[in-house]
Amino acid sequence: MSTTQLSSTLETGAAPKARSRRPRWSLIALLGPVTAFLGVFFFMPLAIMAVFSLLEPGLYGGVVWNFYADNFGRILGWANGPIEEFDPVYLSILMRSLRIALITAALCLLVCYPVAFWVSRLPPRRRNFCLFLITLPFFASLIVRLYAWVLILRPSGALNGLLAWLGISDAPVGLIYTEAAVLIGLVYIMAPFMFLPLYASIEKLDRGLIEASYDLGAGRITTFRRVTLPLTLPGIIGGSILVFIPTLGNFIVPSLLGGAQVLMIGNLIEQQFLQARNWPFGAALAMLVMSVVLGLLTLYVRATLRRQATDVPGKEAQA
C-alpha cells in the first residue's frame, strides 16, 4: 500500500461515468457479499470490542455486564479500589510505544532517504532492478526475517562473532532484549513502507528546480532545506505514517527482540487476552491504539486533500 493509494482510495469519490443502462438489482448483487461480510465480520467485532472496553472484568476471566469506565482509567494509572495505588506502569508502556514508533519512523527516514535518492538517479534498467530488490524481502516471511535478527543479536550470535573476528571486542555485547534491538528489528521490517512513498515523491522531483536554486546562488544545504525537502515532504509524511501505524501496535518484534525488558502496548494487549484474561482492559487498550491510528489518518487524509486542492492549479501551470 502506498501513500498515493492511501489518499486516492478516499478522494476519487466521483464516479467516472453514469451507467443508466445497468439495472439496479445487479448493483445490489455486486455489493451484497461485501456488505454482509464486512458488516458481520469487521464492524460487528469492532463494535463488540468497544462495548467490552466499558464492561467490568470478571474475577476469573470473562466479563460482568456492568458499566465500568475504570478500564480506561487504569491505563492512566488511576487507582481502582482501596487496594491499588496510583501506578503509571501502563502509561509508561504507552509512552514507550509512542516513542519507539516515532523513532522507528525517523530512523527509517534517515536510512531510506539517501537510498531513494540514489535509486532515482540510476539508469532505468538498473533502477527497476533495485526497486525489485527492495520490494522482494517485503514478501519474504515476516517471522523468518525477524528470526534472522534473533540469530544476529543474541549473545552467541553473528554480530558478536563479527566483532570478535574483527578484533574490536571479545566481550559479548548484549544487544538482544534491549530497546536498540527492538528498533533494529522494526526498522528492518518497516523500511519498505518508508522507501516506496519516499521514492515516489523523490522520483517526481523536478531537477530543474534544484539547478535553478544553485544558479541563484544557494548552497547545497540551503537548496536541500528550501527546495528538495519541501518538495519531497508528501513522501516523507506519507512514509512516516505508514511506518508509524503498524509499529505502534506491533507485539511480535518486542516479544522476540525485546523480551520482558521492552514491553510495548501490543504486548500488553496480548497479555490481557492470553495470560491475564482481563478482556475489558485489553479491549480498552486496543480502543486506544485504534483511536490514535484513526486520528492520525484523518489528519493525514484531510491535509492531503487540502494540499491537492491548492496544488493542482500550480501543477498544471508547471506542465
Binding site: 445497468r22 469487521f42 463488540i48 503498524p246 505502534l248
Partner: protein, 292 residues
C-alpha cells in the same frame, strides 16, 4: 577539484546504497548459510556442509538432529503447512471474488453510497493487526464459534478483500470504458460484455490481487495468532512458537524453505507485473497498483 568532490560524493552515495542492500539481504542469507552448517552446538562456527537439518524436519533418517524431539514436530510442521495452504487457498478464492465484484460495482456504477464503500474497504487495510485480531477473538468467543481453520479464513478475508479491491480498482481505473460501450452498441448484453470484454481486460489485476492475497494470507502472523485454535496452527504461528521455545538448527532449515517458497511466488508476481506494465504503456495509471 569540484568535479572530484562530486565524484567522491557520488561514490559515497553508491556505497551507502549497496550497504542498504546488504542490510536487507545479509540476515536472510545468514539463515540460508546456517541451515547447511553441521555444527549442532554453535551455528556461528562453521563445521561442514550438511543436509541433516532438512532431513530432520521431514522426519527422515539423520545423525545430527534431536530425533526424539522432532519425530513429533514433523507431524506438527506438516499439519501447519496443510492448514496454511487450506487457509490461503480458500481465502484467496473468496476475497478475490468478493473484492472483484465490489471493485466492479464501485467503478462502473454511480450510486449514492460510493464514497461510503471506498471508506468501508479502506478501513480494514489501516486497522492495526492487533486490534483486528482481538476484536475477532472477542467476536468468535461471544457468538460461540469455535476457533479453527474456519475462523482463520474469515479473519483473513476481512482485510484481504480490501487488498484485492484496491488492485482491481487500479486496473479498472486505467481501462478505456469505450470498449465496453462499443460492445453494448454492437448488441452484446451486459453479461456477454462482461465475459468477453471486461473480464479479459481486468484479468491481470484480478490475478495480481489474488497472488497478493495468497502471499499475505500465507504470511499473516498477528491476526492468526489470536484466532487460531489449538489444533489449527498455521506455519508462521508454528514457527513463532518454535522460536519462542528456543533456537535450534532445524528452524534454519524450515525458515530457508519458507523464504525460498515466498520469494519464488513474489518474484513471479513482480515479474509478471513489470512485463504487463511495459506491455501496456498506454494505460494512464493514476493509482498505483497496490502490490508495493
Amino acid at each position: 577539484m569540484k568535479t572530484l568532490l562530486i565524484h567522491v560524493r557520488k561514490r559515497l552515495l553508491t556505497g551507502y546504497g549497496l550497504l542498504f542492500f546488504a542490510f536487507l539481504y545479509a540476515p536472510i542469507l545468514l539463515i540460508v548459510a546456517y541451515s547447511f552448517n553441521s555444527n549442532p552446538i554453535n551455528m556461528m562456527v562453521w563445521h561442514d556442509v550438511t543436509l541433516d537439518w532438512y532431513r530432520a524436519i521431514f522426519g527422515l533418517p539423520h545423525q545430527l538432529g534431536d530425533s526424539e524431539l522432532y519425530a513429533d514436530s514433523t507431524d506438527q510442521l506438516l499439519a501447519a503447512v496443510r492448514t496454511s495452504l487450506t487457509v490461503a487457498l480458500t481465502t484467496t478464492l473468496f476475497s478475490t471474488l468478493v473484492g472483484t465484484l465490489t471493485a466492479l460495482a464501485v467503478a462502473r456504477y454511480r450510486f449514492r453510497l460510493q464514497g461510503f464503500y471506498r471508506f468501508l474497504l479502506f478501513m480494514p487495510m489501516v486497522m492495526p493487526d492487533i486490534v483486528l485480531g482481538i476484536a475477532l477473538l472477542i467476536f468468535f468467543i461471544s457468538v460461540g464459534m469455535p476457533l479453527g481453520t474456519g475462523s482463520i479464513i474469515i479473519g483473513h478475508c476481512t482485510f484481504l478483500i480490501s487488498y484485492v479491491f484496491i488492485v482491481v480498482s487500479a486496473r479498472l481505473a486505467g481501462l478505456d470504458t469505450r470498449l465496453e460501450e462499443a460492445s453494448a452498441d454492437l448488441g452484446a448484453g451486459p453479461w456477454t460484455t462482461f465475459r468477453r470484454i471486461t473480464l479479459p481486460l481486468i484479468a491481470p489485476g484480478v490475478i495480481g490481487g489474488a497472488m497478493l492475497a495468497f502471499i499475505i494470507s500465507m504470511d499473516d502472523l498477528v491476526i492468526t495468532y489470536f484466532i487460531s485454535g489449538v489444533d489449527s496452527t498455521t506455519l508462521p504461528v508454528f514457527i513463532y512458537g518454535l522460536i519462542r521455545r528456543g533456537i535450534k538448527p532445524e528452524i534454519n532449515a524450515i525458515a530457508t524453505l519458507l523464504i525460498l517458497a515466498s520469494l519464488a511466488i513474489a518474484a513471479i508476481g513482480l515479474y509478471l507485473r513489470n512485463k504487463q506494465h511495459s506491455a501496456t504503456p498506454a494505460t494512464p495509471d493514476k493509482t498505483d497498483p497496490a502490490n508495493d
